[in-house]
């Protein structure tokens, strides 16, 4: 740029050569070909002169009156942190001062933001040290390293690598047996065999589903005043686990969650997937019902755009997006996709629904209706007989019998209550009837004639037979529903205010990202979500595949290739290695969207197998620390720490799937509720020792050892856990009931042996490695003064224990 300024001193700035590149770099993504925010187009001098809603943006010779310069100079534009450098602003200034000449061609293809252009197939680069390359991923990484004169550090030890890949892929540490087997296997394929075995274990799905549940803000209660349970929401959790375990292709995975009720062959499984759309918070007593309705839709749109597309579309609810080329109209067009969804509810009561294929549901309903009718008919007959008997029972003639013990009939009110038809009884009468019903049954039995008794017995038998022959109820699921083909029109809301509807909009997607394919409406639903899913999973979609491969990279390596994992927009971060990202995205799509294939490419790479060794000279050449020449240790997620601790102590209950569990919570935690303990049905010890993914996700109550270790807030999509370190966290793991109980179990598991052997065994179980001599010495010294469970507790708190090394 210095050179450019020098040149400018001699000759006036030219629009096409000097000014346009600057505007294209900083401005035209929002004021260009696709989007003209504020009506402003900055592609040609003429368009700039014309200006936008704030009037002319350029007055030749008058810098002060030229908004295009003024807004850049006072740094109000562009919004966000990336400003136009003063050297470049000076170029624009000089151009205006010199008369703002030039015509400039409005390039239709003003360079689009990288992430909004579909990735293309590329080839892994050539590298000098080809022997280091185990999977194509390595070639992309090594090429960058070689270009910077960096050599990757050595490979991690077998012990470290085994613990790493176990915790990463299944979230549990290797058992002693597995440690021994791997140590004893000298084959170069030993590690790859472990990877394959782990990918085939059901614990893999439990571990990886948790990553996904973070993104979709999974919870099983509604939040707010009553924080009511979402009935059967856990079926979605099981669906996600199952999808990972069966390697459900990601395009299908996305499609079922968005439109499992609209896909061809829609069935219980695909419908359960749409629970995705209904996982948000729900205020059952909203202050403003209309606003609340749009809040709910905003929540669905927010999680869909952030988790699946990696864009912050939600920011365009009240006005055009301030940083991204998304207009308010884009927002409402996308919102229209979800507009037909209805919440099954009965006032404040949240309802689930039966799920299954159309045929299954129809057959069930038909059979149920038939059985209901048959049962009702017989019950009526029984009732008629009972009423006859009751009439006699309550009549004066039976007075004699009353003296034989049925004193309750002396109360006129009781008699009246029974004599009244069930539906017409008052609250008090209902209570009376309830109280005396079993006595009444006996009395009716005694009062009835033989004929009456046998009639009733026969009818009851028939009812029992009909009930027994009823078809099994299909599963219930926590989903929305659509009613039909003609949903209400969607209007843009001025300032996001539901009381100020503006122009009507058609369902769509942000214009800068393309357009929806044809929406095929059926009698049952609008078909809009299926169209959205088809657009998202189409080959030309620039975001879906990239966003997901980036997440898988993040979940393996700690940080995404694009470190702002939920924001691929202009305001997000650039990829550290776009060639790699794009190669992975295309490979992902073309290999049939297989998640397990992605794991193999990453986990079997040399980069994944690196040690955490530090190299001063590499560090100097890699200022940002982005070149992957070493493994970066990172803290394990709260759930992994809890599950690992249960595994280490030997108490882990591996039971899979089903309704959620409620581990015991300390009294002090329950005291924060307005009704302490409400909505928390404490499970027994055995159930409480299941994996954390099965713990009931209650929005107003949290398990301390998860919450204090940065478990995600469940109100919006969480793409990256925070890592905070606090005093209360240390207290929880040092003094808390959970860790102390597990430390006792761990000590019990080790049993009586020489102190040095006890130390070694705790190290093997907790850290999956042999203790060094100095560690054994420190441990033995400690055990000379303190009990084994105290030593075990320290290991369960150790830095190394909490980290993926």
């Amino acid at each position: 740029m210095k050179f450019l300024l020098f040149a400018l001193a001699a000759s006036a700035a030219d629009f096409t050569t000097h000014v346009q590149p600057i505007l294209e770099k900083h401005c035209t993504s929002c004021h260009g070909a696709t989007v003209q925010m504020g009506g402003l187009d900055l592609r040609t001098p003429e368009a700039i002169r014309k200006g936008g809603s704030k009037g002319a943006a350029l007055v030749a010779g008058a810098v002060g009156k030229s908004l295009v310069y003024a807004r850049i100079a006072d740094q109000t534009m562009p919004p966000g942190a990336k400003k136009v450098p003063s050297s470049e602003a000076a170029v624009i200034r000089q151009w205006i001062e010199a008369g703002a000449t030039g015509e400039g061609k409005a390039s239709q293809a003003a360079p689009k933001h990288w992430a909004f252009v579909a990735p293309r197939r590329n080839q892994p680069p050539r590298v000098r040290n080809a022997g280091w390359v185990r999977t194509p991923v390595d070639a992309f990484l090594l090429a960058r390293m070689e270009a910077s004169g960096i050599r990757p550090v050595r490979e991690a030890s077998k012990e470290t690598l085994l613990r790493r890949v176990y915790l990463d892929l299944i979230g549990l540490p290797p058992s002693l047996e597995e440690q021994r087997a791997f140590a004893a296997d000298p084959s170069p394929q030993a590690y790859d065999r472990v990877v394959e075995a782990l990918l085939n274990r059901p614990e893999y799905g439990e571990r990886w589903a948790r990553h996904w549940l973070d993104l979709v803000r999974y919870a099983e209660s509604n939040g707010y005043e009553r924080d009511g349970a979402k009935p059967h929401a856990w079926r979605y959790r099981d669906w996600v686990i199952d999808a990972f375990n069966r390697d459900k292709p990601y395009d299908r995975f996305v499609t079922e969650q968005l439109a499992g009720d609209e896909v061809e062959g829609s069935n219980a499984e695909t419908q359960i997937a749409t629970t995705f759309l209904r996982l948000g918070t729900w205020d059952d007593e909203p202050a403003e019902p209309m606003l609340d309705r749009y809040d709910q839709l905003d929540d669905v749109l927010g999680v869909t755009s952030a988790a699946l597309l990696g864009v912050t579309l939600r920011c365009a609810r009240c006005h055009d997006h301030k940083f991204e080329p998304f207009t308010q109209k884009d927002y409402y067009r996308t919102l229209a996709v979800f507009q037909p969804l209805k919440r099954p509810q009965d006032d404040r009561k949240d309802l689930d629904r039966l799920v299954g294929t159309e045929a299954e549901l129809a057959a069930y309903n038909k059979a149920k209706e038939k059985a209901d009718g048959e049962v009702a008919e017989r019950k009526q007959k029984i009732d008629r007989i009972r009423r006859d008997v009751m009439k006699r029972l309550f009549s004066a003639e039976s007075k004699a019998r009353r003296t034989q013990g049925l004193t309750w009939l002396d109360h006129a009110e009781t008699v009246l209550a029974f004599a009244t038809e069930a539906g017409r009884r008052t609250k008090e009468q209902k209570a009376l009837v309830e109280k005396f019903n079993s006595q009444l049954d006996t009395a009716i039995e005694e009062e009835g004639t033989t004929d009456e008794r046998s009639q009733m017995a026969l009818l009851k038998q028939e009812v029992a037979q009909i009930d027994a022959a009823r078809p099994k109820e299909p599963p219930r699921a926590y989903i929305w529903f659509e009613e039909g083909a003609s949903p209400v029109a969607t209007r843009l809301l001025v300032r996001g205010d539901p009381s100020r509807p503006g122009e009507e909009v058609e369902p769509g997607v942000p214009a800068v990202l393309g357009g929806l394919p044809e929406v095929k409406t059926t009698a049952r639903s609008s078909g809009r979500r299926l169209a959205l899913a088809r657009w998202m999973t189409a080959a030309e979609n620039p975001l879906t595949a990239r966003v997901m491969v980036n997440r898988v990279w993040q979940w393996h390596f700690g940080e995404g290739i694009v470190p702002s994992e939920n924001d691929f927009g202009v305001n997000g971060q650039r990829p550290a290695n776009q060639e790699l990202l794009d190669w992975l995205a295309v490979e992902f799509r073309e290999s049939g969207w297989s998640m397990k294939q992605l794991h193999r490419l990453m986990v079997k790479s040399s980069a994944y197998r690196l040690s955490a060794d530090w190299d001063e000279s590499n560090a100097k050449k890699d200022a940002g620390g982005v070149l992957s020449w070493r493994w970066k240790p990172r803290r394990l997620e709260a759930e992994v720490v809890r599950d690992m601790t249960l595994a280490v102590s030997g108490r882990l209950n591996g039971q899979q799937s089903g309704p959620s569990i409620f581990p015991a919570l300390p009294r002090a935690v329950l005291e924060g509720q307005s009704v302490p303990g409400s909505g928390w049905n404490t499970s027994n010890d055995e159930q409480s020792a299941r994996r954390s993914v099965y713990i009931f996700a209650k929005r107003s109550l949290a398990v301390p050892e998860l919450e204090l270790l940065d478990a995600p807030d469940t109100t919006s999509s969480c793409e990256q856990r925070t890592v905070s370190t606090t005093g209360p966290q240390a207290l929880t793991f040092l003094n808390g009931d959970f860790t102390n109980a597990q430390a006792r179990h761990l000590a019990g598991r080790i049993g009586d042996k020489p102190a040095s052997e006890q130390v070694r065994q705790v190290f093997r179980l907790a850290l999956a490695r042999e203790a060094s001599d100095s560690e054994v010495a420190a441990g033995v010294e400690y055990l000379s003064r303190r009990p084994l469970e105290s030593f075990a507790l320290v290991l369960l708190n150790a830095n190394e224990y909490f980290y993926l090394n």
């Binding site: 939040g223 707010y224 005043e225 470190p563 305001n571 971060q573 955490a612 919006s716 905070s724 009931d737």
Partner: protein, 470 residues
């Protein structure tokens, strides 16, 4: 904050221990004398100089009735028993099916130099009216406890946002690393509706969330080692923890994060002394206990909490929130059945303790640097419910502030003749929040946290500082 990963962001705001090379280089060069200095709660400079250094928020959960306490309405009494005029003008009133106007049975009296009228429910606090700025034009968005509480605490009627205390902890850190920055003292009858989301840090790290302090037993969850573990043994445990780290600590930038973990255990160890000491009232004089009403069964419980609040802010805690009222029904201020009976109880148990807190802070020279806020999640209707009770009403109610640079002895805003809706000098909850932050030295427009593509604020896109209050 554009284009930063969450980890980097944490570092920039000093809000976390990060894995960046920079942190490591700084720690290697001795930049941090010890790892605790990069604590997310390290004290930070405010945006501008301010008097208030800490804040005590007195939360009257359930919704106190303004017309029976701080906002006399002779017109309401005059029309007692008649239907409320213009009932149709507010859809909310139609939905809630209000009874007829219910005059207040309370006697109002002028107090202090300012001559502001206060009801006989607050005879002791009335005498301190010259220290208090009454905000009679307060209003909020929700008539329901759940979303109302959330809004008074987080600014939003939707769940998932950081609470006021979290914003303060994030913006200012805290002066005493051995105690939490943000302490919540609940009523002995239970927590408020919605529970912990009221003191949650929302999308911010858990380090900023409120910590429940109990006034009996362990003040902090898991503060004490389990039975049978002595303090000496715990010391031993921490030494071993540090030793194992030294024997095998990796050499990379994550070392500062790991050192911070070791430091957090030391902090926990110090908290074991600091927290019980902070809630230990045995060294307080008889006169002080009396001042807070601890000698009287009626005021003892809330009095103790007020005294603990003073002790906490004296020890550098940034934000203390006290709840008056817990659980459901008349255990809190939710006077649907009989407003007199309910409020006689709740005012009676808080009047003396709050006055004691004001007096005590004043005599210790702490009132100027301590902001006191008094508020419920909403007020109550001037119309009746169950003959002698009142329903929720967010349209107009009274809150107040004192100390911390607040100009006392004044009334801000007014409700209509019946005391239903704020009509003059209206102060929305967002304005209240903007003002509280301002008094603590923070500009609510500048105190932002980047989340989901936006710089989020406590006040969302609203909020005006109440200039008259300053």
């Amino acid at each position: 904050m554009a284009g930063h990963s969450r980890r980097e962001f944490l570092w920039e705001t000093g809000a976390g221990f990060t894995g960046t090379a920079l942190t490591w280089l700084l720690s290697q060069s001795g930049f941090f004398a010890n790892a605790a200095e990069v604590s997310p709660l390290a004290p930070k400079k405010p945006h501008f100089a301010a008097k208030a250094k800490s804040c005590i928020f007195l939360f009257m959960y359930g919704g106190p009735s303004q017309v029976d306490t701080w906002d006399p309405k002779p017109t309401l009494n005059k029309y007692h028993g008649e239907p409320m005029p213009n009932l149709e003008s507010d859809p909310l009133l139609k939905v809630r099916k209000p009874g007829t106007l219910l005059g207040s049975t309370r006697k109002f009296k002028r107090y202090g130099q300012s001559g502001i009228e206060v009801s006989d429910l607050y005879p002791v606090l009335g005498e301190r009216i010259d220290d208090i700025a009454l905000i009679r034009g307060t209003w909020a968005d929700s008539f329901a406890h759940g979303s109302g509480l959330l809004q008074m605490n987080t600014g939003f009627i939707r769940q998932g946002y950081p609470s006021l205390g979290s914003w303060m902890a994030y913006g200012l850190g805290t002066e005493n690393q051995n105690l939490p920055a943000f302490v919540v003292l609940l009523d002995h009858r239970g927590g408020p509706i919605s529970g912990p989301p009221n003191w949650s840090s929302g999308f911010m790290p858990a380090a900023y969330q409120g910590t429940q302090f109990r006034t009996a037993g362990d003040p902090v969850l898991f503060l004490e080692p389990p039975k049978g573990t002595t303090r000496e043994e715990q010391r031993d445990q921490l030494n071993l923890l540090a030793k194992l780290h030294q024997l095998r600590g990796p050499a990379g930038p994550e070392n500062s994060e790991l050192n911070a973990r070791i430091a957090s255990y030391e902090l926990a160890f110090r908290m074991q002394t600091a927290a019980p000491e902070a809630v230990d009232l045995s060294k307080e004089s008889e006169a002080t206990r009396k001042l807070y009403g601890i000698d009287n069964e009626r005021t003892e419980k809330f009095g103790k909490k007020c005294l603990i609040a003073r002790r906490l802010i004296e020890r550098g805690v940034r934000f203390v929130q006290l709840y008056s009222g817990g659980g459901h029904g008349d255990d809190n201020w939710d006077a649907h059945g009989n407003v007199d009976k309910n409020h006689e109880h709740h005012c009676g148990s808080t009047d003396k303790p709050i006055a004691g807190l004001l007096d005590d802070l004043k005599s210790r020279g702490l009132l100027d640097e301590t902001l006191i806020v008094w508020a419920g999640e909403f007020g109550r209707t001037p119309t009746s419910q169950s003959r002698t009770g009142r329903d929720h009403s967010p349209r107009g109610f009274t809150t107040w502030m004192a100390g911390g640079g607040v100009k006392g002895g004044q009334v801000i805003g007014a409700t209509d003749d019946f005391g239903y809706a704020a009509v003059e000098g209206k102060v929305h909850v967002h304005d209240l929040h903007a003002t509280i932050l301002h008094l603590m030295g923070m500009n609510h427009l500048q105190l932002t946290y980047f989340h989901a593509g936006r710089n989020m604020r406590l006040t969302d896109v609203h909020g005006n500082v109440i200039e008259r209050l300053l």
